[in-house]
């Protein structure tokens, strides 16, 4: 194909057997699994693939609380090979405890993985310092998890996108969905800024926009969007294991050597605010820097070169909704409730099965159904305080003397 003809988009057939709305990590993984299975699949993305929180997160793949945990752990070591593109996946996770209380918390949480057959190893301060030379002299210890891991979110979303194209799947970017057409109790087409796309089955994996789209089907999906942010430093010498966190932070050292960490206050947003060029970062980055300095005292001189923010959605219990609806019965709702990246190999496979077979054969998803929120109060966000907050007067400022 000459570059000349490559630049002129060919008229593509509109629609597909399965249309996935949302080119984030969850939707792309679902579409890739469908394409792998030979299903005619099309992804509609309002902007660029992986542009929002899917490409802007801590890259962690260690979620022992999830019913998809085993599949997450099984799949990640194979993903580079399965996708054919590098994800920068690295195995293992080290939890650093700055004090005994944090160590107790790490023990309690890692026990969840141990109870599922995974192994951990307690690290005394000396052993921890050998593995993580950036920690300080007063560190309490750590736990080495022989499970979990981390990958590069940006590279991974692109890997899903390319892999699905390699298998015949299609992606239409810059197609904003404004409606879904129902006929005889089924979603039959998706109406976008680039026209109408017919479908036999529909997956809504549009992150914070999922509620608005489900609303077009008369289905209420209770999610609240929020902004969260991270900072990243210049590269420092690469440690043996980059998946190191603790001290109130999540994150990793990249294979390049950058330290990328997040945590701290999030900001709840209105759903209609969700079309910004990018999400803003805030002075919270100074509290992040403070905790990074405390976690890695030997890196206090290392320079922060960037920050970024992403917008994620949460359900009322903070757990995913992965559900094939009863009505319309050819629609799958998929939100990972702010913990989507690491679980994406497994969530995509589950969603693909829900879309094709109506059930998932490797994990029990019953508790992730939408029906659990049936009795939810209409003002649940207000009750939880999951709504935008503005200071009155100057009351969020402490004036230094």
């Amino acid at each position: 194909m000459s570059s000349e003809s490559a630049l002129r988009p060919q008229p593509a057939p509109k629609g597909a057997a399965v249309v996935v709305v949302g080119g984030g990590v969850t939707g792309l993984s679902a579409a890739w699994w469908l394409a792998q299975a030979g299903v005619d699949v099309l992804v509609l993305e309002k902007g660029i693939v992986g542009w929002e929180a899917s490409g802007r997160n801590g890259g962690g793949a260690t979620h022992a609380v999830s019913p998809l945990f085993r599949e997450e752990q099984r799949l990640w070591p194979m993903m580079d090979e399965l996708l054919g593109y590098p994800t920068e996946y690295q195995p293992y996770r080290i939890r650093v405890a700055l004090n005994e209380s944090q160590l107790a918390q790490h023990r309690r949480m890692t026990q969840l993985a141990v109870s599922q057959g995974f192994e951990t190893e307690l690290l005394d301060p000396k052993a921890l310092r050998e593995l993580v030379p950036l920690v300080g002299d007063t560190v309490a210890g750590g736990i080495f998890c022989r499970y979990g891991g981390h990958a590069n979110p940006q590279r991974t979303v692109q890997a899903y996108a390319w892999a699905l194209q390699d298998r015949g799947g299609r992606i239409v970017q810059h197609a904003a969905v404004h409606d879904i057409t129902l006929r005889n109790g089924r979603a039959v087409s998706v109406e976008t800024s680039q026209g109408s796309f017919g479908c036999e089955a529909l997956v809504l994996a549009a992150g914070p926009q999922t509620a608005l789209l489900a609303g077009r089907l008369g289905v209420e999906v209770p999610i609240a969007p929020a902004r969260a942010e991270m900072i990243v430093t210049e590269p420092v010498p690469v440690m043996r294991h980059g998946g190191v966190d603790g001290g109130g932070l999540y994150g990793r050292q990249t294979l390049r050597g950058n330290l990328a960490y997040g945590g701290g206050p999030h900001e709840w947003l209105e759903a209609q605010d969700l079309q910004p060029r990018r999400a803003a970062t805030s002075p919270v980055m100074r509290s992040l820097a403070r905790r990074m300095r405390d976690l890695f005292p030997k890196a206090a001189h290392v320079r922060v070169i960037r920050s970024w923010a992403g917008i994620v959605e949460n359900t009322p219990d903070g757990r995913p909704i992965l559900d094939r609806l009863k009505n319309p019965e050819n629609v799958v709702i998929a939100t990972m409730s702010s913990v989507g990246f690491g679980l994406s190999p497994a969530s995509g496979r589950a969603i693909a099965q829900l879309a094709v077979d109506g059930r998932c054969n490797f994990a029990d998803l019953r508790q992730l159904d939408l029906a659990r929120f049936a009795g939810l109060a209409a003002d649940w966000r207000e009750r939880r305080g999951w709504v935008p907050w503005s200071p009155s007067g100057a009351d969020n400022l402490m004036v230094e003397s």
Binding site: V284, M285, S287, W389, L397
Partner: protein, 544 residues
């Protein structure tokens, strides 16, 4: 801890959210001016004369550590040892700007060696600021400063141009050269070659001669000179030769610059190459604040959208001087920037209620009008320099020094070399193919190739990456969306950026992720529906 207690009483505040958090700030000032060059100084003086309490910050002198990282300009390692003495450098900067004395006399709070690294205000994805905030820092610590109005007079930045060997010490930018020679008096080179026969290049050569440095030649890619006749006459008077229709084929020297080989094979020996093809507006803070920016080729690149008085799309934020657009007329005459600064200050005075709008307008009307001179073509020369570089360096030309990204990596959207990947999988992956899926976005390419991800924060590569992306997707540079700027727009050590005055609201409610108890309960446990559970200490709370 108002947030936590309110939530405990069921009044609906999420204690782990931004609600109720407080930021430590320095005592409020109505007006902050960033940059004490001609525009910023004139703005601050005008404001102070109107009785507006004004804080004027300027990052000069830049710390030696940042200079070594080529931040904020491309210093190319040509600083002498005196840059280690920041006290002496502050004196030299003050001496180089005589108007600063007037600022001190008027009671303006002038802070030199203080960089603005971020700015925060309510916008589409944040509503939590009682007042707009600017983040400031010196070499030891950072702090936050609230303001009512902000005038950004951040000047211009270097526009690097790649050529074979441009990553060697001794290759530097025109703006960095100006700082080292004319302000810091800390330039370590002796004999230089200047790239660029426009106003920027000729001015660099003349500044070098004034400092008694040797200028081995001025190189211009175009066949005709781009500078006004008067400047060219001065150059001739200094005996400096202008090499027209030339570019750099190769660099001589192993560890450092020892000379250049021109396209025609001629060799010029030198210890420094000053890349002075052009400069571009410094818009970092404006973009971070969410002020709309547009590509204006005739103004040197992306510039803030402003009205005649420098008002941006945020009513409390103004841009004045080179950061609002670079023109040859303004580069040649600092009085134009000063006029822009005064206009912005008068308009800001109206916003601050210190002048009635009609008073401000009538005073602005007495000032010389904004430049109407026909702007020069700034894009063409840059493109022709890049084309010459590609002709000389080909696919192996380094585009991004920090991340060692070459032209072939950028065009082929290849992962960095430290990753293992199957070359065959990437056979059909390149900018042309990616453009089929939608317009090329520089931030996306940055994530894939790492071009622009390095410690210089993309300063040495963003313009040429933008040009290359445009060329390879058959669009003009202005069709490539602005690669976003993110705070901190100056690299700050963790220990400097760290908030040393963090309040108890932040500390006591810190959670690594949303403080939703059921999110961290194992899936085999039924989620608790007790709202108080949100407050329960759990794994992700970093207990002290």
């Amino acid at each position: 801890m108002p947030g936590a207690s309110a939530a405990a009483q069921g009044r609906g505040i999420d204690p782990t959210s931004i609600a109720g958090k407080r930021f430590a700030t320095r005592p409020h000032v109505p007006l902050v001016v960033v940059g004490a060059g001609p525009a910023g100084l004139a703005a601050a003086l005008e404001a102070a004369r109107l009785g507006i309490a004004t804080l004027l910050v300027d990052e000069n002198p830049v710390g030696a550590g940042l200079m070594g990282m080529d931040v904020p300009w491309h210093f190319g390692g040509r600083m002498d040892a005196s840059v280690q003495n920041s006290g002496r450098l502050i004196e030299r900067v003050a001496e180089s700007r005589p108007d600063l004395a007037a600022a001190y006399e008027l009671g303006i709070d002038v802070q030199l060696g203080v960089a603005a690294w971020g700015a925060f205000a309510n916008g589409p994805t944040s509503a939590s600021y009682a007042r707009p905030i600017i983040g400031l820092a010196d070499e030891r610590r950072s702090w936050l400063q609230t303001f009512d109005c902000l005038i950004v007079a951040a000047g211009a930045r270097d526009v690097p141009v790649a050529f074979p060997g441009w990553d060697k010490p001794g290759v530097m930018g025109a703006r960095a050269f100006h700082a080292l020679v004319s302000e810091y008096r800390a330039f370590s080179g002796r004999r230089l070659v200047v790239l660029g026969g426009g106003v920027v290049g000729i001015q660099a050569a003349l500044a070098a001669r004034r400092a008694s440095l040797e200028v081995a030649g001025v190189i211009e890619v175009d066949a005709a000179p781009r500078a006004p006749a008067a400047l060219l006459e001065q150059l001739r008077a200094e005996g400096v030769q202008l090499h027209l229709g030339q570019s750099v084929r190769a660099l001589r020297g192993k560890a450092e610059v020892e000379g250049v080989v021109l396209a025609d094979g001629a060799e010029l020996s030198c210890d420094t190459v000053v890349v002075a093809v052009d400069v571009a507006p410094t818009i970092e803070l404006l973009d971070v604040l969410g002020c709309a920016c547009r590509y204006r080729a005739e103004l040197g690149g992306y510039v803030p959208v402003v009205d005649e008085d420098g008002r941006t799309t945020r009513p409390e934020v103004f841009a004045a001087g080179d950061c609002a657009g670079v023109t040859d007329a303004a580069l040649a005459d600092p009085q134009r920037a000063a006029g822009a600064g005064r206009r912005a200050a008068l308009a800001a005075a109206a916003v601050l209620g210190m002048l009635a709008p009609e008073q401000a307008a009538s005073r602005i009307a007495t000032l010389p009008p904004a430049s109407r001179a026909a702007p020069a073509d700034r894009e063409g020369p840059r493109q022709r320099w890049l084309a010459a570089a590609l002709a000389a360096g080909g696919d192996e030309l380094v585009v991004c020094q920090c991340e060692d990204v070459r032209v072939r990596d950028l065009v082929g959207i290849r992962p960095p070399r430290y990753l293992k990947y199957a070359e065959a999988a990437f056979a059909g992956r390149n900018l042309h193919a990616l453009a089929v899926d939608g317009p090329i976005n520089q931030d996306q390419i940055k994530r894939l190739t790492r071009a622009g991800m390095g410690q210089c924060q993309g300063r040495r590569c963003r313009d040429q990456v933008q040009s290359l992306l445009a060329a390879h997707s058959n669009v003009s540079p202005g069709d490539i969306p602005l690669a976003s700027y993110r705070a901190p727009v100056r690299p700050l050590p963790l220990g400097v950026l760290a908030d040393r005055d963090e309040g108890p609201e932040m500390r006591d409610n810190w959670s690594a992720w949303f403080g939703i108890a059921a999110q961290w309960q194992p899936h085999w446990e039924k989620p608790s529906d007790d709202p108080a559970q949100i407050l329960a200490p759990h794994y992700h709370l970093a207990e002290k």
